[in-house]
């Protein structure tokens, strides 16, 4: 795995992912942009930034020991006898060409063939519970898989009714997607499921490009040595995330900030209140990452393009990118 901290530049992309790591309720990150800018690399590196979580040892859904959702039917172990341990937070890849049965889970073929038993084999949605689900080339995902995800991402629960099986299990995950807009746009319903969207572009200076080449080259020459070299930096980021999570609950949000957030959303004509809510949550996570004890309007300003850029109404004849439009509105709102 290429270390997260070794990614050159791309501050927005890193910030978006860090915010998602701090507060899962922000609702996922979409990285949309040019080819060859390290989108997939960054997301796959995210796993190493996530502090471990406690989970029931035998639970296929990695439930929390005290969670009400965890039922004996999940693992067949009585509640009083369950133990938990520290586990890495899952970052599950939804590969191209994935079949529906592997996404939602299906009949365990081996047990059916060998023992003639009906048993449920959990799929990727189960494995992603309490963690992250990553979809590369999200705009190329087949429609019927998108439909499945939309439903589960909204309800946090996977309901399987197929092949004579009837299973319900928790599937709360943060959706992380990446794609290249040239290859097709995203269905609006899916776009809406992402809390933050980052417009990723190529580093603009030669120095940055050279640095990218050097690091990539060093990484390919010796993965282990490269990871060792950056492990301290990654550790620093990880501690920043842990600290921010602890702070998150105690961060104050003043009325003036709430008003400002509403003002921004009204000026941008974003649909519904999801935009506002995401903006506030993202700003709060950002404030926590900075070690602040309250959200300031400047925090809002810094994350507004991430939280709102993909929620603007489309105007096919307006050439200016979403980022530019957000900036324009921010300049107006903050000028007053």
């Amino acid at each position: 795995m290429f270390p997260f901290s070794a990614i050159v530049g791309q501050d927005d992309m890193k910030l978006g992912l860090m915010i998602a790591a701090v507060d899962q309720s922000v609702g996922g990150v979409l990285l949309f942009g040019d080819r060859g800018t390290g989108k997939s690399t960054a997301i796959r590196a995210l796993a190493s930034l996530l502090p471990k979580m406690r989970a029931v040892t035998v639970c296929p859904y990695a439930c929390d020991l005290n969670s009400d959702h965890c039922e004996a039917s999940h693992c067949g172990v009585d509640r009083s006898k369950r133990r938990d341990k520290l586990m890495p937070v899952p970052v599950v890849d939804l590969p191209l060409g994935v079949t529906e049965d592997r996404v939602v889970g299906a009949l365990d073929i081996e047990r059916a063939l060998v023992h003639g038993e009906k048993a449920f084999e959990p799929g990727l949605l189960a494995r992603a519970n309490r963690g992250f689900l990553y979809i590369d080339e999200v705009n190329l995902l087949e429609d019927h898989i998108v439909d499945l995800l939309l439903d589960v991402a909204a309800s946090g629960e996977n309901l399987v009714e197929r092949e004579g099986l009837s299973v319900r299990h928790p599937a709360k995950f943060v959706l992380v997607g990446s794609g290249n807009p040239e290859e097709g746009e995203l269905r609006p319903q899916l776009l809406d499921r992402f809390g933050l969207a980052v417009d990723v572009s190529t580093p603009s200076t030669v120095a940055e490009r050279v640095e990218v080449m050097k690091r990539r080259d060093a990484y390919e020459a010796d993965h282990a040595a490269f990871q060792r070299k950056w492990s301290r930096q990654d550790g620093k980021l990880r501690r920043q995330v842990v600290k921010a999570r602890e702070l998150l609950g105690s961060i104050k949000v003043n009325d003036s900030v709430l008003e400002k957030a509403a003002e921004i959303c009204i000026a941008l004509e974003t649909d519904g209140s999801r935009g506002e809510l995401t903006l506030l949550r993202a700003a709060r996570a950002y404030a926590a990452l900075q070690g602040a004890d309250e959200v300031s309007v400047l925090h809002l300003k810094d994350v507004a393009h991430l939280a709102l850029g993909h929620r603007l109404r489309r105007n096919p004849l307006d050439e200016s990118s979403a980022g530019v439009r957000v900036e324009r509105v921010l300049a107006e709102v903050f000028a007053e």
């Binding site: 060859g36 063939l113 020459a221 489309r314």
Partner: protein, 573 residues
Amino acid sequence: MSRALPTHDAALVALLLAAHPHGLGGVSLRGMPSPERDDWLAAFRGLLPHGSPCLKVPVNVSEDRLLGGLDFAATVSAKKPVFATGILEAADGGVIILTMAERIPDAAASIIGEALDRRTLLVERDGVTRECRVHYSVVALDEGIDDDERIAAGLAERIAFRLNVRDLQGFQAELDDWDDEDVLDARQRWSSVQVPDAVLQHFSQAAAAFGITSLRGDLFMLNTARTLAALAGDSAVTEAHAATAARLVLPQRATRVPAEAEPPPPPDTETQEEEKSRSSAKDIPDDILVDAVLAALPPDLLDQLAGSMPRSRQGSTGGRGGPATRSRMRGRPVGVEATRQVGGARLNILATLKAAAPWQSIRRRDERVSALELRPSDLHITRYQDRVETTTIFVVDASGSQAAQRLAEVKGAIELLLNDCYVRRDQVALIAFRKDTAEVLLEPTRALARVKRSLSALPGGGGTPLASGLDAARQLADSVSRQGRTAAIVLMTDGRANVARDTSPGAEKAEHDAMNAAKLLRATGLRSLLVDTSRRPKPRARKLADAMGAGYVALPNADASRISGTVQRRLAS
């Protein structure tokens, strides 16, 4: 001891890919099948170390053949899941050859590209989870003829080189002294080759100068240069290696020609210090790579880039992810789907049996029968995908007979129509004719902002080469339908022609030519509509519409929104 490398690009590419298969992605080899192409493939295979897999991938390859999947027959007889290895996994350490690569479906191209990127294959299919190493390179045999028939952009991006079958001649002589032993030696040396920082700097500068955004270009140059040095037996990348790498990697990625007198960016101080300790490449003049690439650019591309013509292909590469409707019977099969109601759909027997198989022992035990037990929940139908994408081609008369004010109205109407096209996710193309020729201002695109831009820049005045306009529309519509899209033509003119096909003036010949062109258009059977833009409608335009089999709408003093409404109704019916 530095060994002389071949100078022929095709020979170099074969050596490079053999010596460093998975860091370079591969090559797209464009052109029709020919003895030269076979020779090149044979020579390339000859360079691969003994035992390297070399697998052909047919154009209609299914996802489960690429990725692997459950082996149904073996699973049933072994009574436990047996996984059938896919092509990509089997190709580890070797090469896959994509035949008719320009026709490979996007989904398959993405899978192949993704595995190139990650060098790991992740399979989640049919109840099987599998992760394995895949190091391979791709030889994409691109047999596209037109500019618009190309391999999927996402795959092209992950492949370092491009060759044309035309340019293969004479490569063989240069490979005479090379064999798989040399390739193995180069693989040994590869990681110890030094790459001076100055070279990296030049690579990035050159990539930026040619407007290449993706960093894969930079990395491909680096890997190419290093492999060249390894092949030559050099301990470090030299100026010549760097220039060759740039020449092989950059031209196909260039989006612009660098400005003449661009000031060199200030050198990185740290870089300079490190540079002193090494010697081989510190003296590369700033623009040597740029020159090398410029020399390798095909002349027509150069003209096109220098004239800053819009890169027409960018927005329309293969129509990926475009709207497609799922039909129950028509189109291209795209997969199977479980259903309990088969009515009107095509039952997929294999998938249905496959779904029923694991259950047989349970069902038999329950009911004590021995025949195959099928349940409604086993039923699978084949899903089809039917593309209904429409490309609307606007053909605009921009001649002097269209008074400036009318032209402005026509522009306004088209802008309104664009909004509808946006809603339907249609593509739009724009052709204008004036003076003595017709010009495709915009190839089919979904980037409507660009349509708007070229529309507002459209000048008026001059003669009316109506026939040329109609011919251009027919040709464009033809290429659109060859890509599997439906074309519709909206012609906006007063029907008056005064420039013939051969650009000679004179109304009589011009109108005769126009009528001919209209009849040819009719023969294509395309949906078309003529919007008569003359102030007082005359039979002339009506006659033309009849000749081309088009709907006719006269718009005396109509405003833009009325034009838009009428066109929409006519084309919908």
